[in-house]
């Protein structure tokens, strides 16, 4: 969270004051700052998923965390899940995905990150927003003492990020900053 705030501050001040002539192009330096913020959001999502999936988490707390997790996403975002046994993509609205995770009821959920990720270039959409994809690899382990259930998998997650220039008022002055929202996520079980 601390890093999240730092990244936000960095982005906030990296953009400078509003100027009519300011271009909407993203410089390599700014792209790096955006990448950092995107990764922080992805990390937050991972933390939330661990909390939602744990049996130790009270129902009310899980719902509160789901609300927080949903705030990371653009409206209408979906999870598209496929496995090694089926290439077909199963689609879940983000909230539904979290609810399914909560219903798994593991005593313990561990989500580990591989120390490798990949962030695409940012491409501009017709509406002017930028879009990119962050690829991460995660190891999911869920254990249930009661049923002896012990589920493990490694997934590749391709996470859409939307990057948008926004404005805010600070001491009567308009400041522009770049904000990052998560979008659709493609989850693929990997055999690597």
């Amino acid at each position: 969270m601390k890093k999240h705030i730092q990244a936000f501050i960095l982005l906030f001040f990296a953009t400078g004051l509003i100027a009519a002539a300011q271009s909407d192009n993203i410089s390599p330096q700014r792209k790096q700052a955006i990448d950092s913020l995107a990764l922080e959001k992805v990390k937050d999502l991972s933390k939330y998923i661990s909390i939602i999936g744990s049996k130790d988490t009270q129902f009310s707390e899980a719902n509160r965390v789901m609300d927080r997790a949903e705030e990371l996403f653009s409206p209408g975002s979906e999870m598209g899940v496929s496995s090694l046994s089926s290439q077909d993509v199963a689609y879940y609205p983000v909230r539904r995905y979290f609810e399914r995770l909560m219903a798994l009821n593991y005593d313990n959920v561990t989500i580990s990150w591989y120390d490798i990720h990949y962030i695409s270039d940012l491409e501009r959409q017709p509406d002017g927003r930028y879009v990119g994809v962050v690829t991460i690899y995660q190891r999911f382990e869920g254990t249930s003492v009661e049923t002896g259930l012990n589920y493990k998998d490694t997934t590749k997650k391709d996470i859409t990020i939307y990057v948008e220039k926004k404005q805010t008022q600070v001491a009567g002055r308009t400041i522009e900053f770049w904000d990052v929202m998560l979008g659709d996520i493609r989850v693929t079980e990997t055999s690597a």
Partner: protein
């Protein structure tokens, strides 16, 4: 083959996991190099093909950077961008292609925004209640302030029987003096005959995309899922290649060249396109 494996290992072993590459925090697992080696996104395929990123994938090279489009790096990279396990691309053809794209006097690069490449999306729809495969061919186009993917063509076996146009003597026809009778024979042609396509001009080609959209809007066709994506490239002069995704153990994974062929002329290109579109 052994040389390639060795090259792959050298490249992979040269990857330095600097702090900051990983996402940090507890429970971090060290990659043994397989995920680093994998061409994880098509975006990375472009970057590697053009030598626009460092070997650890962390540094994006831009025009003006010392290693940007570096020939030696490109030769290394393009070598690694082939499916070496299942494709039937000969060593000599692969080498010829690598020499061609990395030629000192006229190197050729891929461009995301340039035409002459498109996606083939294998998808499942229900058509009148029955699950059926539909292939969508998509391309990038400029629109508004940026770019978007659009559907260019559709291949669907269910449409084909409707357009089984015979030729010559076999074909039903409207005789050449039909006009003198005010085309009254159209009734027989279009009402009593189940091959109305017989009465279309030589140049007529059924537009499956329009039909597809009509069926969706009519509620007869409903999207179910996507079950595969591959890409076709004609951006390199005199060559065609296909890029597919390989999800398997080992280092030769991700988006890789799965098919490669030389294209002699426009006619040959047309033949390949017709084969891909399956709209002959």
């Amino acid at each position: 083959m052994k040389k390639l494996s060795l090259l792959a290992i050298i490249i992979i072993s040269s990857i330095q996991f600097v702090s900051g590459q990983g996402l940090g925090g507890p429970g971090q697992i060290k990659d043994d190099g397989r995920f680093a080696a994998s061409t994880k996104q098509l975006n990375q395929f472009f970057r590697r093909f053009n030598a626009e990123e460092s070997e650890d994938g962390l540094t994006r090279y831009h025009n003006g950077d010392e290693m940007y489009h570096n020939r030696e790096l490109r030769i290394k990279y393009v070598n690694l961008l082939f499916d070496n396990e299942t494709s039937n691309i000969t060593k000599s053809l692969k080498q010829e292609f690598i020499d061609h794209v990395t030629a000192e006097n006229y190197p050729q690069y891929l461009s995301f925004h340039r035409e002459n490449w498109f996606a083939e999306v294998s998808s499942v729809f229900t058509f009148k209640g029955k699950r059926t495969n539909v292939t969508l061919f998509m391309e990038i186009q400029q629109e508004g302030l940026g770019f978007e993917w659009v559907i260019k063509e559709v291949a669907f076996d269910g449409f084909k029987p409707y357009f089984d146009k015979k030729e010559g003597k076999e074909k039903p026809f409207l005789h050449p003096l039909s006009h003198e009778l005010g085309f009254m024979n159209l009734r027989k042609a279009l009402q009593d005959n189940d091959t109305p396509e017989s009465y279309t001009s030589d140049g007529y080609k059924p537009d499956y995309l329009t039909l597809f959209l009509y069926e969706i809007k009519s509620g007869n066709m409903k999207f179910e899922t996507v079950n595969g994506v591959k890409f076709h490239f004609f951006q390199i002069g005199d060559w065609y290649f296909e890029v597919s995704q390989f999800n398997r153990p080992g280092f030769n994974t991700g988006w890789l060249i799965s098919n490669l062929t030389k294209v002699a002329d426009a006619e040959e290109k047309e033949a390949i396109l017709n084969y891909i579109y399956d709209q002959k």
